[in-house]
Amino acid sequence: MGDKKVTIEVNGQEIETQAGRMLIEIADEVGIPVPRFCYHKKLSVAANCRMCLVEMQAMREGMENPVVPACATPIGDGMKFYTKSPKAIAAQKGVMEFLLINHPLDCPICDQGGECELQDIAIGYGEGYSQYTEAKRVVKNKDLGPLIATDMTRCIHCTRCVRFGEEIAGTRELGMIGRGEHTEITTYLEHSISSEMSANVIDLCPVGALTSKPFRYSARSWELNNVDAIAAHDCVGSNIIVQTLHNKVKRVLPRENEALNEVWLSDRDRFSYLSQTHTERLETPMIKKGGEWQCCDWNTALTTLVAELDILVKDKKNTIGALLSPSSTLEEGYLLQKIVRGMGQHNIDFRIRQQDFSQQTLDPLYPHLGVNIDDISTLDAVMLIGSNIHKDQPIIGHRLRQAVLKNDTKVMAVSHRQYSFHFPVTENIIVHPQRIALQLAGIAKALLTLNNASAPTGLKEVIDDMLITDIQQKMAEKLQAAKRGHLILGNMIYGLEDYAQIRMLASLIASLSECNIGYLTEGANAAGLAIAGCLPHRKEVGKENNQDVGLHAQEMLSKTLDAYILLGIEPELDTLNPQQAINTLTASSMVVVMNAFVTDTMKQYANILLPISTPLETSGTFVNTNGMWQSFTGAVSPYKEARPAWKVLRVLGNLFELDDFDYRSSEEVKESIASKYTAEKFDNRIIWQEHLFENRINNVNNEPIRISDVPGYAIDAMVRRADALQDSLDMQIADKVLMNEKLAQVLQCHADNIVEVEQLEGSGKFIVAIDESIPDDCIYIPSAVAATTNLAAPFSTVSIKE
């Protein structure tokens, strides 16, 4: 492009801009309308629809003015264009007429009606009548899976959907087959689409060929109310528009934000709303009396709760613990910790899938990615440690892919499972989880050698006779050479028993190679909850309470406390060790469950059930992995008797007669945290802790160990109940156990057979699949799916019977 300034003229208006840009971009910038179908600012230029034709002043005297496509005409100094001249209009009309020849004009029964680019442009640029009397072509619809409905006769072959797959999603699934009149858009052999961003083609499709399957025929677009909101399922906080009708959520669309999701949205954020009216929604408060569940009103539920807890907590020896979802809002978290602390205790935690808390005092104020999402494209080397970035944080996966494509960023991965990223990985270390620390130590050793530095105290003994492998060496060199290198600790890493060592080593690698390091975490608001003080060792805005550290999530779930408050979680799915969680909770005399949903399992361990709002029904704030505070309001009112959790907690605070609980709005709650908070600059590297390596690094015992992660559509209660997402290809993993051929032979397991997997006192049934990317001695079983609710923690031994 270059920065050369040029001046052009459009419809007589002089515009100064950079040379080489396409005319359509400039027209868009200054607001001169140019009709288009195939052009999209985030996709490459295809110039195949010809709708954007405009007249251009001939370059030479005596030549006739040509009509040119605005989307594919790079501008140069002195060029003159006319978008509304008779010639331009004739060209546009002509193209419009051709495009409509085969279009069914079934707008009255088309979901795109009212938000259709073809409809709009036909009104603006077409004729009011048709002179075409021949037969129109008909194209068979395609089955693209549970999310995207097709009416392929409507397709105008702009190829936006095809280019999206190739350029953005990174999975080339849709294609254009045939030629001329026989052209069709389809997937190969009509496979369902597997991309985690697939539904963006619904927004991209300028006509009604690709529309939302779950939304199909349920409303007209012009009837819908739009409410701005924030997506609640990953630490990006994608901006969304929630569309409602008669107090029901009908659809969720991306809201453009260049710093975060651009114009895109993950399928998870788009379709999680489908859980809003799931049959498992909890409708009213309920109390268990003499083993029987009774519905009751809020007043009864809350006064009973307060009476029982008051008796318990009056005796200072008694303990209460609170566990909350990492997707709870800032306000909910703040009020909940205030209640727990008001009772003189500090047992509160949202890190419910973490195993190793030994170095929690070294945690940053909140888990930060360490680089702004819109700066990812400037990184030149990235090392992912235990991250399935595309499925866990689709938008960040997309950003990283763009970095690879546009900036030639080198991505390396260290993990216990090989993920099929949509970008090339230059070096890949896939090992038994207990060897991850060793691998990182190897990379650290390579860096020490490169820098002629001696090993920090404590590490010397560990790495002295370690051989540096080729891959470790290459990774070290790439990080060392990077001007802007970055290490990312992903969702899986927190569940490992030697997380503290791993993080320490990663931080050492970052320091030695002068790279930065950052965290990606589960849930929408881990950052906000850390700031709100939902940690046993820290109060609001990170104030340490060293003398009086409370119990962390693992401690709360391994020894039974006298009472629990569970906010927004299903411990049988959302904690590291479901078996233990259920046993512990069942043994407790008082379990208060605040949740939008209810299940039979919940009813076993709970004593009081309080129905709360989903994020679509409450106001609140999420703080994303870049420390952006994003507040939102409820799009619809709460389901049946459900109430926003912050309101319930506020009332509870009042009933317990705790100080400072007179908030009138969630904004006031937020204000009381914000007023104490000062944003700080982040360096996630931590100071070397020599004692951490006294016992050397973990060693593998050769018994088969269960490895795990949480599939993208299993991460929280809402997503798990969005049926269309559950039907997608990604969830086929939910009942599988994966191992490599070598281990399958040892265990005598055969592909497609059903096996019983046992872990301590629980078991589950799974279908065997052989997968050579699983490391030796490892058995992959997903977490947070129905089949694993009786199992214990991953990363420990399991036994298998065919």
């Binding site: 999975t171 080339r172 699934e173 849709l174 294609g175 254009m176 087959i177 045939g178 030629r179 001329g180 389809t186 997937t187 190969y188 052999l189 496979h191 597997s194 099929s420 290809l729 086929q732 993993i733 599988k736 699949a769 997968d771």
Partner: protein, 171 residues
């Protein structure tokens, strides 16, 4: 799970013969190793020849796998060019151009005449498996319109007599 449409695993499968792979390899040598997909058209042609003149989805998948590109990309190419067949064809494939120049010069009559002689319409094959009739786009021989192609030969300035002569020569 290995059958996902985006499966980009590389390698051979037993759908194609070693001979076919060897011929494809000859073409692969002409392109840089990261540009394997450049050989897609040659690979399709070679595989089609091996399979009695037509392609199957198994073949398309096998080529995609060998060239490490998404199968849909191979299918796009295979359906775009009319030289690739997706159904069994007769021994002789008669490709009649019906594009503009040929149309103006009476290609429709040629098609009608072939129907009269062989009883097949475009896309059909004679019962004895000898002839398949196809309608194709411009073959770049407008100067000799109307024209048709059989095998590697062009036949131009067609008349019913010329068609008769041609048909009697093909056995």
């Amino acid at each position: 799970m290995s059958t996902q449409s985006t499966d980009l695993s590389e390698g051979k499968s037993d759908v194609l013969s070693e001979q076919t792979y060897a011929e494809i390899d000859q073409w692969l040598k002409k392109y840089p190793p990261e540009q394997k997909k450049s050989a897609v058209m040659a690979a399709l042609r070679i595989a089609q020849d091996e399979n009695k003149g037509y392609l199957t989805t198994d073949i398309i998948s096998a080529i995609a796998k060998y060239l490490a590109i998404p199968a849909i990309e191979v299918q796009e190419v295979a359906t775009f060019y009319s030289m690739y067949e997706h159904n069994p064809v007769g021994k002789h494939k008669i490709c009649v151009c019906t594009n503009i120049s040929c149309m103006l010069n009476g290609s429709e009559h040629i098609l009608d005449y072939i129907y009269e002689r062989l009883g097949i319409k475009p896309g059909e094959t004679t019962k004895d498996g000898k002839f398949t009739l196809k309608e194709v786009e411009c073959l770049g021989a407008c100067v000799g319109a109307p024209m048709l192609q059989v095998g590697k030969e062009y036949h131009e300035y067609l008349t019913p007599e010329k068609v008769d002569a041609l048909l009697s020569r093909l056995d």
